[in-house]
């Protein structure tokens, strides 16, 4: 099980870094929010992928099955998804108001307008 076997962690790290890069590098406010969403998605993967045990069944009591996959990460991530949705909705609402107030959603133009 070399480094390549841990491909779920590689995907997690890739999404994490990609999301953070978008937040930092893009000046369009909506693109920043999308980067934030991608960053939060990587965290969901971080929790859920290790929750599946190799050879584990869904967590339903049944005869003959003794190894269950962990259902707790799924519950935690449901909560985290809702939080992510709420944050995205709030961020977009603020962007709509910014557009109405400034006429633009490019960060550098907005900072220019306030100078």
């Amino acid at each position: 099980m070399s480094a390549l076997g841990h491909y779920n962690y590689w995907v997690t790290v890739l999404l994490m870094v990609a999301g953070l890069y978008i937040v930092i590098a893009r000046s369009n406010l909506v693109k920043k929010l999308i980067g934030l969403s991608i960053f939060q998605t990587s965290v969901y993967l971080l929790y859920i992928a290790p929750g599946k045990l190799v050879g584990g069944t869904p967590p339903i009591l049944a005869e003959g099955f003794r190894l269950y996959s962990n259902p707790l990460p799924h519950v935690l991530i449901l909560t985290a998804i809702v939080v992510g949705v709420a944050t995205l909705a709030l961020g977009l609402a603020i962007v709509v108001r910014i557009r109405e107030a400034y006429g633009s959603i490019e960060e550098d133009e907005i900072l220019e307008a306030d100078r």
């Binding site: 909560t79 985290a80 939080v83 944050t87 603020i94 306030d114």
Partner: protein
Amino acid sequence: MTLAQLPALVVVVPLVAAPLALLLRRGLAAWAIATAACLFSFAAALLLAGQVAESGAISYALGSWAPPWGIEYRVDALSAFVLVLVSGIAAVVAPFAWRSVAAELPRDQLYLFYTMYCLCVAGLLGMTITGDAFNLFVFMEIASLSSYVLIALGRDRRALLASYQYLVLGTIGATFYVIGVGLLYLMTGTLNIADLAARLPGIAATRPVLAALAFITVGMSLKLALFPLHLWLPNAYAYAPSAVTAFLAATATKVSVYVLLRFYFTVFGVHTVVEVLPMPQILLALSIAAILTASLVAVWQAGLKRLLAYSSVAQIGYITLGIGMASRDGLTGAVVHLFNHGITKGALFLLVGGIALRAGSANFDRLRGLARAMPLTSLGIVIAGLSLIGVPGTAGFVSKWYLVLGAVEAGRWWLAALVVGSSLIAVAYVWRFVEAAYLAEPTAATPGRGEAPFAMLAPAWLLVAACVWFGFDTSFSAESARRAAVLLLGGGAR
């Protein structure tokens, strides 16, 4: 409902008050419900603090599921202290908010403001009282999302951008925290803070656990505005409605400091934090940078709110300086400064809210000769400013005393000198207000003679009086802080 249900009620009452305020749709009714809920929470927090001081930590099992399977609310010396601070500030700001917010928001949005205020209070109180790491994240996001809304309600259009920046940075911080908790969960299989503390010592030096420590540090540093992750704070405090600034400045960053303390000393334990990773050195360096640069930047600001915001960044540097010392006196200084700075900044921003109501804004060009027009407000700002500086007889002195004590005990005389010397920079920015209000001639922009309404002045002066009271009678503040520091350094949960 007996006293045994208080740990749940202290969070549930503001949480229920929020949808009630939403359904009532009338500003005055929403304000009344919000104020009643905050007063109840304050009373409950005081009762809880008294109970903890007598008989030790309280554990409350949510849903009657025993920990560590169920979510546990845990009130010990540290969380009781922070509960009293947060609920107290909430109870003081709520009566103030009626006149202040009515002047800054349109009438049909007032009930929405109080809905968000209740949610923010419930979120902050929940963050403090919970003993489950993921439940802490949920409450953290409740508090953060409602504070983004509250900040965006400011009159100036720059409040929108400030709220957006805070949203992006705060969400990154919260997500870093979740990553840290996820790594801890992967390594130990539990989310309960006391259980994590029990299971970590064997695996504390493994890379995932150290990575978790790093992620949680960075995440909470974004939330508590530790230099250089403080960039959201000056804009957010300057452009938000005055009541919001007063409330958030006194509570939001303090609860994030509490979370950092909880994870550093209860979960990871002082050995991991001090010996395995160079956390004290890093915190020391960043704190010194925060104190010096933020205080210096504060001196050059054009508006009083921005000046006080940068001052907050510097004062948070003092708190993290105490944490970085990781000794009993250092931690006592950190925790007591958490409390003292909360009431000092709360008093200052409430008074500035009164100025904003009378003068339209708090820029220095409108403050010339203010002492003649608003003598009580100016005197209050001077007294609270003395507490910021740390003059003996005010609350700020008590915190600086413990910090200097901790530095001297560790043999770091230069640090003690720095704590005292940086207070001189605070003199510089407090003097800016004194010079403008007392020594300058009133201009056309200065408001006419007349204080802010009594409903706004009284809560502000209550906090100013508290600044002076806790400078003389430290039996509650310093004693609770000392007990909290002993608990934290004792290692693990009780």
